[in-house]
Symmetry: C2
Amino acid sequence: MNHAASPASQTGAPNAPAALYQQVKDYIAREIQSGAWRPGDRVPSEQELVTRFSVSRMTVNRALRELAEQGRVVRVAGVGTFVAEHKPQSTLLSVVNLQDEIRMRGHDYACDVILVERVAASIEVAAALDLHTGESVFHSVCVHREDGVPIQLEDRYVNPRVAPDFITQDFRNTQPGEYLLRNVPYDQVEHVVDAISATAEQATQLEMPATQPCLLLTRRTWTAGVPVTFVRCLHPGNRYRLGSRFRADGNPAFG
Amino acid sequence: MNHAASPASQTGAPNAPAALYQQVKDYIAREIQSGAWRPGDRVPSEQELVTRFSVSRMTVNRALRELAEQGRVVRVAGVGTFVAEHKPQSTLLSVVNLQDEIRMRGHDYACDVILVERVAASIEVAAALDLHTGESVFHSVCVHREDGVPIQLEDRYVNPRVAPDFITQDFRNTQPGEYLLRNVPYDQVEHVVDAISATAEQATQLEMPATQPCLLLTRRTWTAGVPVTFVRCLHPGNRYRLGSRFRADGNPAFG
DNA sequence: TAGTGGTCTAGACCACGGC
DNA sequence: CCGTGGTCTAGACCACTAG
């Protein structure tokens, strides 16, 4: 194995050998992927890998730490490293900011704010925002358009405790979601995707036939554990889809 | 700042101070989150942080590297580290293995294999699997059930070049997707989610009314760059949803 | 007590980009 | 040229777990 004095392992280097930690990582990943090491099997200890690859412990440690972050191995201090049980066959789908996504496609983005009001929380909204039924909440409805075509009907509820000035904003230039992102950034988010039919009113607002199935993206966000917003985004099924591309090595590349 | 001789920063330690790299990470994350450092702003160099926090460069490097992995900063070798442009408001949704998911809920899982055949690739299938139209491909159709209720109609095409024995398998005990996972593990995957209407035949197979909107999950997988399988999973909208919960600090926790 | 992983240090060499 | 980040080393101390 080549050492510190060896050719570059720099990002840009064209035909450079992989970084040492990456070589160790690849080796372990291959043993797991090939089935040579089964789930639950013990992975060689850091010290064993140090001697086997003739690298320092920090290098082996980085390889194992990153594999653990990816969920391929489980590390237990004082015990050892093990092949993760049952490669949780989960994959990731990306949910991107609509405005950025549309503009990145080079298309025109517009947002019609249909409604901004203060209402009493329904049972559902109160539960979602962790408030009492009947408490005052902010409510907004907008239609987002791509090149003039409605792409999303956004039905949003906002917790006045964390965004008291929401109701007094001028939403002609900044859409509600954008305002919240800038002023009440969240640190936790929950998403749910459903396929449903639109109501007659929703179909009208989205300028689509009522028979068209829709994608419903429901999102809740929190900041420091306090609910910020609860929003239902309704997309005509023939005008919107969620997608992702994922490479095994760790970094997802979305397209 | 406390040093090597300081109290534990071990995982298990109850009231131990955070690890030094974590403290540096937290500091930078706070400056960004609070808005003190705007997108595009330069983050102090590793050397500056080393002197400011009186820690070693490796420690600062780990903090910055992990922030870069999370997409909060962008690092350019030879130039510097910068606050990431407009936190690409993307979030992740998990797509989990259906069989595991159902069993994890404590429900009964079953799979009816409707069909396994060899067919000539249509234009669409040929494009998806990177084959020529009319080339021979394997085709299977199954219905997956949760407690007897159809949850997914799986329409799968398999590249015979990478899974030549697919057609000769006995799928009474192992379902097609499971066979592929075990024998032709993939290293790249693409997912797309749509909301569509089921055809009459599909509605019958799923034992659902034809008017019910459906979630269509289309997946393609590759191994070493070669397409493995192209599968369309159709879910009745009222019996299935995709969901995720994401914490800001890095590791998504799905529920 | 011996082995494990978790963290940290104080150096080091390298490729890159801007000056 | 210098400062930047990317990587690597050969040690070190610690807490935890098991025999």
